[in-house]
């Protein structure tokens, strides 16, 4: 079907640098890994029989969860650092609809999502709505790290680097509340995952710019006017056969 859209002149743009792609996939993998083990931690549904010393099912689930959490936390923090040293598409200001351009593009993008516009404004990186959504997602990711570290610190060995983080326990409302937040946020992230995969497919299909592929390769294929033209992007009349 996409061949029917006239093959507009597209420019190959390096959008997602390798740290963005690697942290993206590490975060995604660790969320799935930690959610799978986390669901077991919250409700250990497997039936284990025989002498206790012969099994370590919960033990291994925790080990995987903790190592996944280390990867997760370091990836999220690395991505946040990269917001300040990466290219324009990775920068922190793309996550806040505060700069004038992004404020102006926010509602039209929302109109596109709600079918009031046929085409989204031509933002090459994150569009303003996606950027704002990722700000909320980053808040969830940080909430996950803070509550997770608080829960872990409570039982961390005295020599552990996480032991001093016990000061977080009262700040997150006590350990039982931290558990609850940790659990609820997991579901919010899984809900976001469904939304995120869908939106990537949608944008890739509608914009035909390789959004889905770009998180593997780093490149998007965008009409030149998206790079130079300020405004909405429509297929150039001359390019339509």
């Amino acid at each position: 079907m996409s061949a029917a859209i006239a093959a507009p002149k597209l420019v190959r743009v390096y959008v997602w640098e390798w740290p963005v792609r690697i942290t993206h996939w590490l975060i995604a993998t660790s969320i799935i890994l930690c959610s799978a083990t986390g669901l077991y931690l919250g409700n250990p549904f497997l039936i284990v029989t025989g002498p206790a010393g012969a099994h370590f099912v919960m033990g291994w689930a925790k080990v995987i969860h903790f190592y996944g959490a280390i990867v997760f936390a370091l990836s999220v923090l690395s991505r946040i650092v990269w917001m300040f040293i990466g290219n324009t598409y990775a920068r922190w200001d793309k996550f806040l609809p505060i700069p004038k351009k992004r404020r102006a593009g926010f509602m039209p993008t929302l109109y596109f999502y709600t079918f009031r516009l046929r085409k989204p404004p031509g933002f090459v990186g994150h569009n303003p709505v996606a950027g704002a959504t990722y700000t909320l997602v980053f808040c969830l990711l940080l909430a996950m790290i803070v509550t997770g570290v608080a829960i872990y610190s409570g039982s961390a060995a005295v020599g552990s680097v996480l032991h001093p983080f016990r000061f977080l326990i009262p700040l997150v409302g006590g350990l039982q509340t931290a558990r609850w937040i940790h659990h609820v946020v997991m579901w919010l992230l899984l809900g976001f995952l469904v939304h995120h995969v869908y939106s990537a497919v949608l944008m890739s299909q509608v914009e035909g710019n390789g959004t889905l592929e770009s998180i593997f390769s780093g490149y998007k294929f965008v009409p030149p006017e998206d790079l130079v033209y300020s405004g909405y992007r429509f297929v150039d009349r001359n390019d339509v056969p």
């Binding site: 920068r91 039209p108 999502y113 090459v124 659990h183 469904v194 130079v228 429509f234």
Partner: protein, 387 residues
Amino acid sequence: MSDLQGSWLERELESHGVSRREFLQFCAAMTSVLALPDSLAAAVAQAVERTPKPILVWLEFQDCAGNTESFLRASRPTAAEIVLDTLSVDYHETIMAAAGHQAEAALTKTVAEKSGGYIAVVEGSIPTAAGGAYCTIGGRAAIDIAREVCGKAAATIAIGTCAAFGGLPAASPNPTGALGVADAVPGLKNLINLPACPANVENLTALVVYYLAFKRLPPLDAYHRPLFAYGKAIHDNCERRAHFDAGQYVEQWGDEGHRTGYCLYKMGCKGPVTYQNCPNVRWNGGTNWPIGCGHPCIGCAEPDFWDKMTPFYRHLPGIPGFGIGTTVDQVGVGAVIAVGAAFAGHGVISMIRRRSDIERMQRGPQPAGPAAGTPPDETGGAKGGRS
């Protein structure tokens, strides 16, 4: 032994028929409760027997006297009991002989004469609503008594969860505006919380011994709880921990796992989020403890336990507004399915529109009218460069 001659403790031990050996055993036990090295036991014994008789006043506010019960213990006289009993308890409504104005006079006298030299023990929460009218003693509001008595004490021990954190009286909706001592009388120096419902008398004894031996307070955590008793999660010292790590859980009351002594995690045990030395010290003279007899921990030593640790027999509370008994997982699965369904619907509409767009484009004309507004693009021509 000559050191012991004539000390108040010696006389008390003798008159109660407690041998020197028993006293030393007690000191060794206390040394281990305090997590001090064995070699210090003799030093602890010496310090305790040489110290002057400490003065103590015991205030009861919004409480059930459960901590008093814990303090009084009805078991045979032990060295621990002697140490506690021979504290000069100048004021304790439940056990003192005096009553009414005489009792209050005793308190006033101690506070006035021994200002800065006595230990105040507070049991029960302190109501602050309605000007403190919910709990008055001798016509004075609990909050006023606490301010004066705790304010002039050398140290204040808030015993039990009510005194430490507000406990049951402070549970939602907290009609009396109940607070723990730390919140009701802010800025108290030398405040020690000994939460639990009731507090374990072994920890009170150990605390008193520590105070007598070292003349200062033990190291405390962020909630003012002594680390020797509240430094580790119950879960991390639990005798059923091997079953937890193996993945063996009680699935329902009385099942094979319950009878075998499997982990109570799935029955809502709050051991992993509760800090106390119950598994080591146990209760009723070391007889047993809740998890030991097959009941999950309810987290009674933690702040706001009545609000936060409930439902006691569930791992986690539900989400407010989704009905009692609905779990976070049920709501979560529902939410994820709802998101999926919403976007599936969005996808169907998108595909239909896209198809009509393509058809229109194939016919030639502009696919859609010009959109309102012209939001500028973010890049301004930069190709992957820094903005």
